[in-house]
Subunit: 378 residues, 2 copies
């Protein structure tokens, strides 16, 4: 398996990003991926009960169509909490892209990210679509990665390749996210393009596992977004024997997991206002669930996160957070090992002495800068 | 019912506070309440699994003794996560106070507040006890209130009086707390002295209800403390007909509830680094539990709290927080009314349109100052 911290689109995919005027800054804010070959798709969405309009449309497309050829994403507006009008707006956008690309409306997947509760300025998107489509290219993927950013300070790209039989299979994954990041994905969008030939069931299995061990293991502020999406398109262009199970699926799953974990860490490293990247290893849990609960209770504790920011080895706050998690732990069972707080990378090891399960989660510190960014964001 | 925002001890109680050297600042840090008449007592404690040593001792005293005459509290050190040695230290402190007061060790209730995970400097407490006891007076209650403070910027005192039959009954309540404040009480200590003659069962009922509607309805940072305690001593000096139920209990409960709610609001107003006091009214819930879950999900959202700090009417973050709470609400059901963010008091009304239950919770905004205070606290 080879890994590159840069997006290289697999054969048959093109992308682009333009500025259509949704962002006041004039930065890129409309992004498109196009697959020349109709591709199968799987996706995981936020578990927030309030779900953005494009996700409602996207879920419908995934149920009704079998093949997909485009992913249209805007930043600057989440098109969420916008009622029926928001759904009409999302459908209209899918229509504009479909018409310009000469494909069916159902084969366009959608997403939006940005402010919640404002109507999308559909006219700006409509006007920008022809330029967006005419500029599609393999190299356009970097523009795509920048056009889906909101408070991100850098784009997040990774490419992984592996051998399935004698064929090279490529996975290119792009994410955005810096705040409203909680387990269960948060304001995180991730789009994955692969040229693998893989059954839908196998792709879904690989994606579920990859997300559980990457995006579901990070938290920035414990706030679960309304727009979280991780979607993968597989166009089969690699010409490999179709992956359906066994070693081939394990290999593909491993590579997909690696790509997702890399992006998840990038999201935490780029966390709004963060000055430190924190790795929390919890061991000695009764089961995986307990390990995750303990780790996330620490990772979401604002008192722990401010202590790390202050390079203040206040391990009492770790004990407090574990005790508050609902786990019926006794004081004598809890072993805490907090590494140096001086550098940019902080490691915390917690042993619950209750069993053999363990997990790792990643988070960031909480800084005055985080507060400023989120006080002003509009 | 009369209410005074100042502590006036009922007949038979004395108090004092001294500086014994636990706080580096030299501020008051050792506090004592003494009841000349043996009093009955009830208390509510943190639900954190990691419980501070003085609480372990306190719970034992409450089970084994029937009457209590003293409450000894230190600030500057929480005596938590200190193992068996911590329990020995707490018992030793109870012994020093009991000896000096000439009462039994079992009749001394205890608490500590401050840093977690450091041994208590028992010798400093031992040396300060004689002065603490000799200085006991009714007016000493204000020193008591200051001596239990940690990051609080002001003491929190309230006195409520009511008539039970022809007799005046007085309730004096003192609290501390500014951070590590979550529902389920947080680093909140509250001591309540009353001259009411009341049965233990009735007192417990009144306290449960008062805490549920006050300290369990506030949150500053969602961090549940290891030392939370609300304790009440009733010495019967008012000479009223013993309260055991009926209208007399309802009246007493109402007055106790009012005292606790007043203190709870003071805690939120004094929240670490806060610039705004936020009242969240949730209506239209299926039941009380759902109303509370929705209200606290908003109140604990760092994104909502930073938006309020920035006077940024980002109501999408309210929708996001309700949706993330686990309540299966549909977008069309949710009605949000966010009042002006300009002043020091902010009101948010949320209607879930699902039923008739409602609740109110109080919280504060999240500011860069909060982060600074907690980065440096040691």
């Amino acid at each position: 398996m080879k890994k590159l911290l840069k997006a290289v689109l697999p054969a048959g995919f093109k992308a682009n990003g333009v500025a259509c005027g949704l962002k006041k800054s004039g930065n890129l804010d409309l992004a498109l991926i196009y697959s020349e070959l109709p591709a199968i798709a799987c996706a995981k969405f936020t578990s927030n009960s309030i779900v953005a309009a494009p996700l409602i449309v996207c879920k419908k497309q995934l149920r009704s169509a079998k093949r997909f050829q485009a992913v249209l994403v805007n930043s600057g507006n989440a098109n969420c909490f916008t009622g029926k009008a928001g759904i009409q707006d999302a459908l209209a956008c899918a229509g504009f892209a479909a018409r310009e690309l000469g494909i069916t409306k159902n084969s366009v997947l959608l997403n939006s990210t940005g402010i919640i509760g404002k109507r999308l300025e559909v006219i700006k998107i409509k006007q920008a679509i022809p330029g967006l489509v005419s500029g599609l290219s393999a190299a356009g993927v970097h523009k795509f990665a920048r056009a889906i950013m909101t408070t991100d300070t850098c784009s997040k790209e990774v490419t992984v390749s592996l051998k399935i039989g004698s064929k090279a299979v490529n996975i290119c994954a792009i994410a955005k996210g810096a705040g409203m990041i909680a387990p269960n994905m948060a304001t995180l969008l991730c789009f994955i393009m692969t040229d693998a030939d893989i059954s839908k069931a196998a792709l879904n299995k690989a994606l579920t596992c990859a997300v559980e061990n990457s995006f579901n293991r990070i938290t920035v502020d414990g706030c679960m977004s309304t727009n979280d999406t991780v979607a993968v398109l597989a166009n089969g262009a690699a010409g490999n024997k179709q992956i359906a199970g066994g070693k081939n699926l394990r290999d593909f799953s491993g590579a997909l997991g690696e790509a997702c974990l890399e992006l998840a860490k990038m999201v935490v490293k780029d966390a709004e206002g963060a000055s430190k990247f924190i790795q929390i290893d919890v061991s000695g849990a009764k089961d995986q669930g307990e390990a995750k609960v303990a780790a996330l209770s620490i990772a979401n504790s604002v008192l722990f996160k401010t202590a790390v920011f202050g390079e203040n080895p206040n391990f009492g706050r770790v004990a407090q957070a574990v005790g508050a998690s609902g786990i019926k732990i006794k004081e004598g069972q809890l072993k805490i090992k907090l590494g140096s707080l001086k550098g940019k990378q902080v490691k915390l090891k917690v042993d619950l002495s209750r069993g053999k399960a363990k997990t790792v989660v990643f988070t960031s510190d909480l800084t005055p800068e985080y507060v400023k960014i989120n006080a002003e964001y509009n």
